[in-house]
């Protein structure tokens, strides 16, 4: 029932700003793809272009086999969820959900049946007769989801749907959105600036920066092997160190040594705090604990080392049980598996 979305070299400028600098993306039917990036990266503009709320300057947008590039929003087979809910205050939850069917002049019986189904789907049956100002933010966003899905759209568009909610509701609703999307098997595009949200919900994540897609990959792949320096910085929390290249290799003392990217004199290396092996046995690079942050199951050690006369700071995550003795000032030795280190040319 749902169809894929094909974006072909989509371009959009606002004055001299290239919001979309030639974006191409193939989204498969039934897939949930997250557009991830910092504010101003073009992810919202891309979503709004699929919705028809922005008109691209160039390129083509296809939903299924149909070219919708010049088609007005109301004629596109889409449903949209906004950050600010955008429920109609003059209508009850039920009327909001029924609205897409009402304006399409569907038969009354069908509207009734379909809105019942949607209320059930988003768990809002008890709130059906309430007005938007009488329900919570989480309920409002569920109502908005029901409204977007009521006309059985080919594509569901979600514009930072959880940003206005508090942390607890956010994770619950995130899982809820995923459950519903998989249940109705609709293709979905989900815009977010929160990488953990993107990884938790999406089949694939498209990392966007400066109006371009930097990398598109399944969450585990993106997490393990970021293709670009930007992806590495933006996804997951990583240590980033700029180090000199010697004899084609880049190394941090005895902690690690990896092949350097071709043709550069300095390199930026990324490695995860959980991949730093902290020991007291003297194997690896000597380091000093500057301070420790207790995070519950794990603790984060802020470490400082002296490698080749150059001070380097990074942090390591380890189980809190093992970090008890590691008070500030403690001397430790650190190692990182070379396979856990990713190096990019510096200044890129």
């Amino acid at each position: 029932m749902s169809s894929g979305v094909s974006l072909q070299d989509v371009r959009k400028s606002f004055g001299s700003v290239h919001a979309l600098d030639g974006v191409s993306l193939e989204i498969e039917s039934g897939e949930l793809i997250a557009l991830l990036g910092p504010s101003g990266c073009g992810k919202t503009t891309l979503l709004r272009s699929v919705a028809g709320l922005e008109q691209p300057d160039g390129g083509r947008i296809l939903i299924g086999d149909r070219d919708v590039t010049g088609v007005p929003t109301r004629e596109r087979p889409i449903g949209m969820v906004f950050q600010s809910y955008a429920l109609f205050p003059n209508m009850t939850v039920r009327q909001n959900i029924a609205f897409p069917l009402t304006v399409r002049k569907r038969p009354t019986a069908e509207i009734k049946a379909r809105s019942d189904e949607m209320l059930e789907l988003v768990n809002l049956v008890p709130q059906a007769a309430r007005y938007p100002n009488q329900i919570s933010g989480g309920q409002a966003q569920r109502a908005a989801l029901g409204r977007a899905l009521a006309p059985a759209p080919d594509v569901l568009l979600l514009d930072e749907p959880l940003s206005a909610l508090d942390a607890l509701v956010r994770t619950r609703l995130r899982d809820e959105i995923r459950r519903v999307q998989q249940l109705v098997k609709t293709t979905a595009i989900y815009v977010t600036h929160d990488q953990s949200e993107a990884m938790a919900i999406a089949d694939r994540v498209a990392v966007m920066n400066h109006g371009r897609v930097e990398q598109i990959a399944a969450p585990p792949e993106l997490y393990e092997t970021p293709a670009t320096q930007f992806s590495a910085t933006f996804v997951g929390s990583r240590n980033a160190l700029e180090l000199p290249v010697r004899d084609g290799r880049v190394s941090l003392g005895e902690a690690f040594s990896v092949p350097a990217p071709a043709g550069s004199s300095r390199a930026v290396v990324f490695f995860r705090p959980e991949d730093v092996e902290v020991g007291l046995n003297g194997v690896g690079l000597p380091a000093t604990v500057e301070f420790k942050i207790f995070l519950g199951a794990t603790s984060r050690l802020h470490l400082v080392t002296d490698s080749d006369g150059q001070e380097a700071r990074f942090y390591a995550d380890l189980p809190s049980r093992r970090a008890v003795a590691l008070v500030p000032g403690a001397r430790v030795s650190v190692r990182v598996e070379p396979t856990d280190v990713r190096a990019f040319p510096a200044g890129g």
Binding site: P72, R74, M80, F82, S84, A86, F88, N90, F99, V103
Partner: protein
Amino acid sequence: MTTARVAPAPIARPRERRIGTRLFFLVAAIYFILPLVAVLIFTFAGRWTANILPDSYTLDWWKQAIGNPELVGSFSTSIVLATGTAILDILFVVPAAYWARVRNRRLRPIIELGAAIPFCLPYIVIAFGILQLSGIVVPGLQGTFLLLMLGHTAIAFPFVYWAVDAAMSAAGVERLSEAAEACGATPFQIVRRVIVPNITPGLVTGSILAFATSFGEFAMAQVVGRGLRTVPIWSAEALRSYISAPGTFNQLAVITFITFALLFVLSAIIVYWNRNQTLRLLPGAAAVAETERG
């Protein structure tokens, strides 16, 4: 009307402040109500000499006013004129304000400039402008009721525009409009089903202001509506003929009071009719409504 129970203030106010608030409210109420009471008393006053209250009372002025065909005629002319003006203004302003806010924001400065004109130029100047222009473009309309109504629509439009635009801003119509569009609604459906129901407070305020502007307008009625008798025109004539026809002032008071009562009842009905709506649209009003129910 029953006393509205509002949500309790988080901290109990000191007694003095509560008294101060009530005193202020009382003074304000007297300030607004006293002139109306005076007008009402005047409509029943027989002989009124040096006392605070009239020496005698009579129903004559009411009978005369209601039985005066000229007065009743000008009153109904004014009512139709003011109602027509308010309707025309709403029909014109709502789509224009919506378009300038949602579809093409470059129109906003033009509309806002237009909305400033009736404040910058005296109505008499605008009236002569309309007279000149209509003489060139549509001479057939000169001196007609329609042209006067269009003129009143033009001078009352800023009030309606500001009221409607503020209501649109408060309702976040840009957002609602996009949401409705994504739901498949046509522009007409958006305005009719989403925009208008969410800006009713602005529509009510705007149309009452337009009605009042037209009802009390004198200069344009004199110049553009030559020969048309509106209430202000009739009042001016009554002023001139006061000596020869005593009692016209009392009749004028009757009409003034009826007009006021009409407007008051009208707005009260609309506010009452929209009370749930207004509550829904006011931020934080839900809490108050909750307390009222409980």
